[in-house]
């Protein structure tokens, strides 16, 4: 069970893919639980609603912008290459990162029809407050997902999704770093790969 839950949970968390270890003002566990509970219920309401897929995608994009520190997550994912990128490349990267996040959310809407969301507990781990939840989908084993919450710009925001000790921000960072490394350390190659991915999504939809 452990592994199946791990993997299922890892991708149950993908719509919220985010994270970053930037502004490290901690959020009290109770406040983090309340925040995640409200965010989760909003997510469930949208995903299980009767709106069309495109409408749901728009609603989810707005929700993600509210509850996730997308720019900071993008910077974390870019990692050490933020120092290599030019200012223009950096802003281009963040724009593409927002777009990719939107397309990834859209891709998964249908898969999460019938989702339920339960908040279990919260605790401070390092610089973040981790809220443990259980996500269930019809015909699937329950998935345990941890949400790292941090205080960003004066409000609690999701900065990572953790499943069985596996961080989605680190996974994405390694994914992107591999693209750059495979192309001689050129950030431009990452931007090209991101744009290609977006183009593929557009063609598929």
């Amino acid at each position: 069970m452990t592994y199946r839950r791990f993997v299922l949970a890892a991708f149950a968390g993908l719509p919220m893919l985010t994270a970053a270890s930037f502004a490290h003002a901690q959020v009290a566990p109770d406040a983090a639980k309340t925040f995640i509970d409200q965010a989760g219920q909003q997510l469930v309401t949208i995903v299980n609603g009767s709106a069309s897929t495109s409408q749901k995608a728009d609603q989810l994009r707005q929700l993600v912008d509210q509850i996730v520190a997308v720019d900071q997550v993008g910077d974390y994912v870019l990692g050490r290459y933020k120092n290599v990128a030019t200012a223009d490349q950096h802003s281009q990267f963040l724009a593409l990162f927002h777009q990719l996040l939107s397309y990834n959310i859209t891709y998964q809407i249908k898969a999460y029809q019938g989702i339920t969301f339960t908040v279990n507990s919260a605790s401070v781990v390092g610089n973040d407050t981790i809220v443990d939840t259980t996500i269930t989908r019809p015909g699937q084993a329950p998935a345990d997902v941890g949400w790292a919450v941090d205080q960003v710009d004066g409000a609690p925001k999701i900065v990572d999704v953790i499943v069985a000790g596996t961080s989605l921000r680190i996974t994405t960072r390694n994914d992107y770093a591999s693209v750059v490394t495979s192309n001689g350390g050129q950030v431009s190659a990452l931007l090209t790969a991101m744009q290609s991915q977006i183009d593929r999504h557009k063609a598929a939809n």
């Binding site: 199946r4 994914d175 693209v179």
Partner: protein, 276 residues
């Protein structure tokens, strides 16, 4: 297949290590050695890129990617269609019981790994799980041990070696088996022998059981990862790197969980020493 092995990682390998696949390990490794192409390290003066290269610790990445693509092709045309058919004719409850059954067969092996790794508490948990689930749980089809406070803690010989202080070493992507490493690869031959089936007297019925169990586990595990793996393929810029990252993070997490659960506690019945 690549996907199957990638994410199923240890748990699903519990059955893969059985006799059908276990015998492939050595030839596969030899083949890997023969074909090994090495990744070119960036110049150390290129700090960001060089650090990324060192962190990846994947010196034979070109070869690993070849095997990744081979496994991916096998999966696309064999395992995935079979798994989809399996999902169509079974429900989640059935698949959970199959998973519980296969997990139970692996408990004696885990008991030994924990003992060798100096984890008595975890070893005791594996023993209790095997006894309870094999009896009350009707041969492991059910998992009452978890409800009694004995959840599964996965391990393997690679983890035991890690407990002995042996570093993970370079990343390896093996044909059929998927993600592994210079240390973790030794878990494949070790687990080949550590199953109750292996210890039982040889018989035709036992062989049939063993092959069936292996096949069922293979399909059951691949079925569990149908959606997640599709999502990785669709959303990752470099799925190979994503699977590599997930594998490494999961191994580190597994070690952490084992240490966490092996913490000694004082039984309620034991009189506490007076506080000074």
């Amino acid at each position: 297949m690549q996907k199957f092995s990638s994410l199923c990682v240890k748990r699903s390998e519990k059955s893969l290590k059985t006799r059908i696949l276990g015998g492939l390990a050595v030839p596969c490794l030899m083949l890997a050695g023969l074909l090994s192409g090495c990744a070119t390290a960036p110049a150390q003066s290129d700090t960001a890129d060089y650090q990324a290269y060192i962190q990846q610790n994947d010196p034979i990445e070109p070869t690993n990617r070849v095997f990744y693509n081979i496994n991916d092709t096998i999966d696309r045309y064999a395992f995935k269609p079979i798994a989809k058919g399996y999902v169509a004719i079974t429900n989640q409850t059935f698949r959970d019981h199959v998973s519980d059954f296969v997990t139970n067969i692996g408990e004696p092996g885990r008991l030994i790994y924990f003992m060798f790794g100096g984890k008595p508490r975890d070893a005791g948990t594996s023993l209790v799980r095997f006894v309870v689930n094999s009896t009350v749980g009707i041969g492991g089809i059910f998992d009452p041990a978890t409800s009694l406070g004995y959840p599964e803690t996965d391990t393997d010989f690679g983890i035991t070696l890690a407990e002995w202080g042996i570093p993970a070493g370079p990343y390896l992507y093996l044909p059929v088996f998927g993600p592994s490493g210079a240390r973790d690869v030794f878990s494949i031959p070790a687990e080949y022998f550590l199953t109750p089936v292996e210890a039982a007297p040889t018989s035709t019925a036992l062989k049939a059981f063993s092959y069936s169990e292996t096949a069922l586990h293979l399909v059951n595990t691949r079925a569990a990862f149908l959606d997640p793996i599709d999502q990785i393929q669709a959303t990752a810029l470099d799925p190979y790197a994503t699977f590599r990252s997930l594998y490494r993070q999961q191994r580190a997490s597994q070690l952490q969980l084992i240490d966490q659960r092996d913490t000694p506690t004082v039984p309620d019945w034991y009189s506490q020493p007076a506080q000074k």
